[in-house]
Symmetry: C2
Subunit: 356 residues, 2 copies
């Protein structure tokens, strides 16, 4: 029975379907609450949000549902604020800014939000789930969350990362296959280049850890969810599928790009943030790809492209926006989030039943 397992019972959710955290505005309180209210688990992608904004969003979710939901943050890492930016990269960014008619050399006010302050809000608000990406949570924070009754979920893209996460004490692991849209959660050296597909990754991780595994990457409908359970996952995490819901805060041009893309047009790029992420090919990726080896690292490049992404959104120019999407994006639909959850459940039931 795929419907009742360690994840549904631990999280008190009806369906083992998780709406993936998507930092950058897509996971509005309306989206998160609608998914949870329908019996899945909504997740607030809070990595780029200020502590105050996170608190407001959590409260807005709670106004809409009493059901469990999650909050996701990025684990910070050391970086060189003053790293030299290659002249080619600066020139390319300036050219884009000229096209958008925004200042050529805007001051960078901050590189990231303050993680300790973000986490303090999560601890105070104590949502049912805290998930994190890009590393390992320090043991003290992990214990503090657990003492508040928060279930802690880490993200792995290789077996080695999954084993390290289990050892650090997380309750569950997201096994993120290479099909996944947005940022790859890789954090151990060399891992990002391996690009292990969901089909290969999930059963290998399931065999090597004893805690529950959540499959992510390439699932858009009941076929994908049923496949994830066949592989041994106890829940399926879908991002792109929820991006096109009316409750999603994704830019209308982002939603349109998902409607119109083909499988071949979804690429892996460091162009926007300095970290590898998957999205729909556009002018910005095309301009930056030749500079791949000169690009600054995260979060420096992320800070350098922030004004560009914001202005292109305002100006309705999808060419310079980050159009994150997974490799199965062409299977997308446009249903209300609650309706989508119910349809996913019905499809999964049907597929599972047809295999028996």
């Amino acid at each position: 029975m795929w419907k009742a397992n360690r994840i549904t019972s631990r999280l008190s959710i009806q369906w083992p379907i998780i709406q993936a955290p998507m930092a950058g505005g897509a996971t509005t309180p309306e989206l998160v609450a609608a998914v949870s209210e329908a019996g899945g688990l909504g997740t607030l992608g809070a990595a780029y949000m200020s502590p105050r904004h996170i608190r407001d969003a959590i409260r807005a979710i709670r106004e809409r549902t009493e059901k469990p939901f999650g909050v996701n943050l990025f684990i910070p890492e050391d970086f060189d604020e003053g790293q030299p930016i290659a002249a080619n990269v600066t020139a390319a960014l300036r050219a884009v800014r000229r096209e958008l008619d925004i200042p050529e050399d805007p001051p960078i006010t901050s590189f990231t939000e303050n993680f300790a302050e973000q986490l303090a809000v999560v601890l105070e608000e104590a949502p049912a789930v805290f998930s994190f990406t890009f590393g390992m949570l320090d043991p003290r924070s992990l214990q503090a969350l657990k003492q508040k009754g928060v279930t802690v979920i880490g993200t792995a893209t290789t077996v080695r990362e999954a084993v390290a996460l289990e050892a650090c004490g997380v309750d569950m692991i997201v096994a993120q296959g290479s099909e996944a849209g947005g940022h790859r959660g890789s954090f151990l050296p060399d891992a990002p280049s391996n690009l292990i597909g969901t089909m290969a990754l999930v059963p290998q991780i399931v065999d090597r850890v004893s805690i529950p595994v959540i499959a992510a990457g390439g699932m858009m409908d009941g076929r994908g969810i049923a496949a994830a359970f066949a592989l041994g996952a106890e829940a399926a995490q879908l991002g792109t599928a929820f991006l096109t819901c009316p409750e999603s805060g994704a830019h209308p041009l982002h939603k349109q790009a998902i409607r119109e893309t083909s499988d071949e047009n979804i690429v892996l790029t460091r162009a926007f943030s300095g970290k590898w992420a998957r999205g729909i090919q556009n002018d910005f990726i095309r301009k930056m790809t030749p500079l791949e080896h000169e690009l600054p690292t995260y979060p420096v490049l992320n800070a350098l492209t922030k004004d560009i992404r914001a202005a292109s959104g305002k100006q309705q120019q999808s060419g310079y926006m980050s159009l994150w999407a997974g490799q199965a994006a062409p299977l997308g639909r446009e249903l209300g989030a609650g309706e989508l959850v119910m349809q996913l459940v019905e499809e999964t039931k049907r597929v599972c039943g047809s295999l028996g």
Copy 2:
């Protein structure tokens, strides 16, 4: 019911499990026959075999089984025999040859076998299945095969390739996900770089063609096979899983490398043949990777490394062999091929049953 579908009925096989063609000696008549005899479909990876060798192998299979089996060839493509070889590449190959104590500049006697003559043998012998990789079969050959009652199967790594193959008249399509070991079957421009995972590729192809789809890439046990059927495939094609069978002709060091590899150690490389293929990281790949942009194309590089691969095999040096493997290779077992088929069937039944 995953067990009875258009593929099992068309091919008169008991189980929709196909042993993948693996050119280079792994698919001995013993392996192919054992898989078919157990109720799956064995496939002779005949691309590098001479016409006479193909005929002998087909007859050797028929001495061992009366059940259906397949033969696979590579579709030839135009190439420049006289393409200049970068000095760096020549120097690197010479250095490897010196280490192996073989002639530094061996004459290249041929680049590929003669496809027309290979296909003529297939037409005469008329196995139940002819599958092909790296392109489209010309309409005349396709019709000739069909008139002989041969089922024709093409290989796609993108939706566009699958649609093109259906239009050219094949009976079935292998949807080869990026997890797959050995050569990627990509043939349309730009496709190799997309690396679409099995989880995302299979349902997209299923939705866009009306002929049956065979999933390939990342499946090693009943979990993977059940997942493939959940995604809408009507058969699962496994290569790496059969490579470690005692009947497989893979080099003992290749089998050992599969036993010992981790998920992170399986990489995509053009180092051996000039075409992208997935295998276990070794010294040869490490030496050639920095020269990636200077490597000659297929089949020129394939011909240039032939002596190296042969000598390293003879000298028990796995560092210079092509150790093809899919991303789920660490899930490998060492069972007789017939026993493996039966175990895969039992596992698939169990997984499918557990989902109902």
